[in-house]
């Protein structure tokens, strides 16, 4: 097969998978939240409620699209795209598994692109996500949306610092900006994972997970939405497929962040103690780890109450940022002393 065709197939499979995971997450979110509250959750559409995302999609498509009076129509239409597309783009460099072949055809590695600066790419694309939120809030010409957008952008910018500093710890440990190299660096035994790179690994891991929650605007940091105070936040004025796009963006961002946590700290597709595992085992291992973090997103949502905004800012700037910086310096110091 020609390389272009191979690349096209990978694109379709991986993006199709991403959309499917996002759709499944919308069902899982409702199911798990129901279980935690002693309820059953959606079970009417299809067996076990499995067709609920499809029903939701059909409903979204047939809803009327409204653009509020006084809104900026161009930016109003652009904002959902700016929210969804960057979230999806980052999946392109995630190394799900190593070399693989189907029906004897060599398909290369199981990721759309193997950049040697993929960490940089992920950070850059991830930083774009804030535009969708702030533009959506601002262009709606609604005070609640504007407040939600402002708060979310302030939060995303401040937590991105800690997020990137935690990624830098991993980059220092692995000595590369290539996600695939970072994964390869953690192969073999389970204690090769960056999570267990004592003493800095666990600290970076915890900070990274907290920062991903803030980056994706999830509980307990969901200041973008804040249903009780802001009647929905930045997407208050959105309806129909535009609203769905914001949600798609949120779920894609969650999926990407789960993938990144897996890659950076849990050894990506490495099967513990089995470095030469076949590609489908690697993929399964990757998806299991990713699934755990996706579940964690929902699990935390129904466990922790939302922070107050000043608490959020205090946590971001006074606690997480100093710890991240110290953590990074300790990593560098230990590395120069030959600890790792």
């Amino acid at each position: 097969m020609s390389p272009v065709l191979v690349w096209l197939v990978k694109c379709i499979v991986i993006y199709g998978g991403l959309i499917t995971v996002a759709a499944a997450m919308s069902l899982a979110e409702r199911k798990v939240s129901a279980w935690i509250q002693f309820r059953i959750g959606p079970n009417r559409v299809g067996p076990w409620g499995l067709l609920q995302p499809l029903a939701d999609g059909v409903k979204f498509i047939f809803k009327e699209e409204l653009i509020p009076e006084g809104a900026n129509p161009t930016l109003f239409r652009l904002a959902p795209l700016l929210s969804a597309i960057p979230a999806m783009l980052a999946i392109a460099v995630i190394p799900f598994a190593g070399e693989f072949s189907i029906l004897g055809q060599d398909m290369g590695t199981l990721s759309i692109a193997d950049l040697d600066i993929s960490v940089l790419y992920v950070i850059a694309i991830g930083g774009l996500g804030v535009y969708g939120v702030i533009l959506g809030g601002w262009s709606s010409n609604s005070k609640y949306s504007l407040l939600g957008g402002l708060r979310a952008s302030a939060q995303m910018v401040s937590y991105e610092l800690s997020l990137i500093l935690c990624i830098l710890v991993v980059v220092v440990l692995s000595g590369t900006l290539d996600l695939r190299q970072i994964v390869a660096d953690q192969s073999g035994a389970i204690w090769n994972w960056n999570l267990f790179a004592l003493p800095v690994g666990p600290v970076a891991f915890v900070l990274f997970v907290i920062a991903t929650f803030a980056e994706t605007n999830r509980h307990p940091f969901d200041f973008a939405e804040c249903e009780p105070e802001l009647v929905g936040g930045f997407h208050t004025e959105y309806s129909s497929m535009k609203f769905a796009l914001f949600f798609l963006g949120e779920y894609c961002a969650m999926t990407v962040m789960s993938c990144l946590t897996t890659v950076f700290f849990l050894g990506g597709g490495n099967v513990p103690f089995w470095p030469e595992a076949p590609w489908f085992m690697q993929l399964g291992c990757f998806l299991t780890k990713m699934g755990f973090f996706l579940f964690l997103f929902i699990w935390v949502r129904w466990t922790l109450p939302r922070l107050r905004f000043d608490q959020l800012m205090a946590l971001g700037w006074k606690v997480m940022l100093p710890i991240s910086i110290v953590n990074l310096f300790v990593t560098g110091g230990l590395l120069s002393l030959g600890w790792f």
């Binding site: 798990v32 309820r39 059953i40 699990w299 466990t303």
Partner: protein, 174 residues
């Protein structure tokens, strides 16, 4: 003035992570606990004789004629003006029966005053609660929709006498 002394938090409490893990384990355990959801259309609400549902007209033992003699007491007692009765004469022993007996279920507040007012044990609050239709007119129930064999209402009738025995004696016709 009250000076509230705030408790000094220990290091692990300031870290919040142990508490967060505790809370997570709590909500994880909740997932596996039995569910309290009732699957409504398949599992209807369990009603007892105490349930004060929609009023229904009791038939006599012959399952043909209503016990109602169209005296109009329930119509007068109804605080929501939901009941409309037109009476007519009959050759039967009780001499009068309703020609028209309508309860506007959209007006009915299920208070049970009609049941208490009735001297002939003709109207009782049944356990039926479901009320849905496409037009308002269809929710004005006439005799055909209201009449129930006495056996269906027997539990309610027994309960009614049990609580009212102190001041009420069984009526002669029932």
């Amino acid at each position: 003035m009250v000076i509230v002394k705030r408790k000094e938090l220990s290091f692990s409490e300031k870290l919040y992570l142990p508490q967060i893990l505790q809370a997570l384990s709590h909500s994880l355990r909740a997932i596996f606990k039995p569910k309290i959801t009732r699957q409504y259309p398949e599992e209807p609400l369990q009603t007892t004789e105490v349930t004060r549902g929609q009023p229904r007209l009791a038939l006599l033992e012959d399952s043909q004629n209503l016990a109602c003699v169209s005296c109009g007491l329930c119509e007068a007692a109804c605080p929501a003006y939901a009941i409309t009765i037109d009476g007519q004469e009959t050759d039967r022993f009780i001499e009068r029966e309703p020609e028209r007996f309508e309860i506007d279920m959209l007006r009915c507040i299920l208070c049970g005053f009609c049941e208490e007012a009735c001297p002939k044990d003709a109207i009782f609050m049944s356990g039926e609660l479901e009320l849905a239709d496409f037009t308002r007119a269809a929710l004005v129930y006439d005799i055909d929709k209201l009449k129930r064999p006495k056996e269906k209402l027997q539990k309610r009738i027994d309960y009614f006498y049990q609580v009212n025995n102190r001041w009420r004696k069984p009526s002669s016709t029932s």
